[in-house]
Amino acid sequence: MDAFLHQVFAGLATGGIYASLALALVMIYQATHLVNFAQGEMAMFCTYIAWSLMNAGMGYWPAFLLTVAFGFALGVAIERLVIRPVRHAPVLSTVVVFIALLVILNSVTGWIYSYTIKPFPSPFPASSFLGNRFMSPHELGSIGITFIVLALLYAFFRFTPLGLAMRAAAQNPESSRLVGIRVGWMLALGWGLASAIGAIAGMMIAPIVYLDPNMMGGILLYAFAAALLGGIDSPGGAVLGGFAMGVLENLLGAFVIGNELKLGVALVLIVGVLVVRPSGFFGKVHVTRV
């Protein structure tokens, strides 16, 4: 029973990371109807920036905040310089751009930092009152951070005029322009936020999977499965999907199929959801009159 609960709680901790990244995917999807395949590599690159800052002698939390700000700026810059010029291009061309971004960020990181695996610190003490029988302090702490991020995002989109304008711009760009919203900038802001969320997710997962340029490959796959499971256009669904994905992956890995085949769960889930219920559990079913 203890082993089972331990797996469930560990699953919730990584699930929080999947939830954050899935949310980042959903945010970009809602605004552009595209899935950003480079989301994981952007997060990985930001995590390396955090590593550099700490290596240069900065404390954890200042480095954390600076990295989040860097992640935001990176997202805005990528939207302005790379995505915006191809906004009228066919979907496939945009997908190629995303994949190019993924490959470029991956190789540039490998070129700067080498492909050697590096340890990444956790801000939470190795043992303290935070931990208990089932969860390490880092797992508990990263769940806490995930919830703080989700609560802040919710408050931002729900209660601020800027958040409202971003929701409006994603939903109906033409009407948004008619009330004076600068739709292009809302999109860039969305990319910035998604990238900043990714940076936090990267810093939270790095102590568990260690820092290397390919660290986000599998994680993005889980996040993608989570987003699909919850419904690719439903932020709340993506978060729930993320936690469900984390627990499912851990339980199946520990008791059913073994750790080696864990990633297969994500793939099976992706195919399964697309075949059985393409809108996910909380997504909207889109009906088009032809």
């Binding site: 005029p161 304008a165 939903q171 033409e174 008619l178 919203i181 600068r182 739709v183």
Partner: protein, 235 residues
């Protein structure tokens, strides 16, 4: 002159729709744009807000606005109620209204204006927490109009507010438009297919046929014109 349009051309891709429109509006006036389906009425309104490609000059309160972006034109005080209403279907009624005041910086006055448009349309107040997409057609038209009023516009562009609504709702809507005209000192450029309705409401009118102005004058003169009577008023 509040609005002055000279030699306005507009096209969708390679299809030219407007072939040199000239029109003018005085501050505080209500002008109707009449014409058959496809004559270019909606395109004229869209051209004023830079929502289509245009050539020609458009001046608003003495400033050239042609060539500016839609979101900048809104900031000058031109509110557009588009055809199809353009409500944000997944947002609540109140969120839609707040978006109408998005470019305003006078936070305190916005709350007062919200109550004022609820005064015009009590039904919207009842439904303020409801998603706009679930409102009836008439309520959505009221919401679209209210959202435009939240800008405190100097010029209101109304694109077929009567479209698809029951006659009773249309009458209610125009009664409120009259009240708005009395209370708000806002000028209106009204596009309508129903010429009788528009000529009752407006001070002046222009008649568009295939992208050109063919007739203009006071609402009374236009109503008396034989050709207009036969083709658009039907008696």
């Amino acid at each position: 002159m509040l609005l002055e349009v000279k030699d306005l051309h507009a096209s969708y891709g390679s299809t030219r729709v407007l072939h040199g429109i000239d029109l003018g509006m005085e501050e505080g006036s209500i002008t109707a744009l009449l014409g058959a389906n496809g004559a270019g009425k909606t395109t004229t309104l869209r051209a004023l807000c830079a929502m289509v490609k245009t050539t020609g000059t458009v001046s608003f309160a003495g400033q050239r606005i042609d060539g500016r972006a839609t979101e900048d034109i809104v900031r000058l005080g031109i509110a557009h109620v588009p055809d199809g209403r353009g409500t944000f279907a997944n947002l609540t009624t109140e969120e839609n209204l707040r978006l109408g005041a998005y470019v305003r910086r006078d936070r305190h006055a916005i709350e007062g204006d919200l109550q004022r448009v609820y005064g015009y349309f009590p039904r919207l107040k009842e439904r303020r927490a409801q998603q706009a997409g679930t409102l009836s057609g008439g309520e959505q038209q009221m919401l679209a109009l209210s959202r435009a009023l939240m800008l405190r516009p100097r010029l209101l562009l109304l694109d077929e507010p009567s479209f698809g609504l029951a006659p009773m709702i249309v009458r209610e809507l125009f009664d409120i438009l009259r009240a708005v005209k009395q209370a708000e000192r806002v000028s209106m450029l009204l596009v309508e297919q129903s010429a009788a309705l528009a000529l009752d409401f407006a001070d002046r009118a222009y008649l568009i046929e295939t992208g050109r102005i063919v007739l203009s004058g006071t609402a009374q003169d236009i109503r008396r014109d034989d050709a207009v009577r036969r083709s658009y008023l039907g008696y």
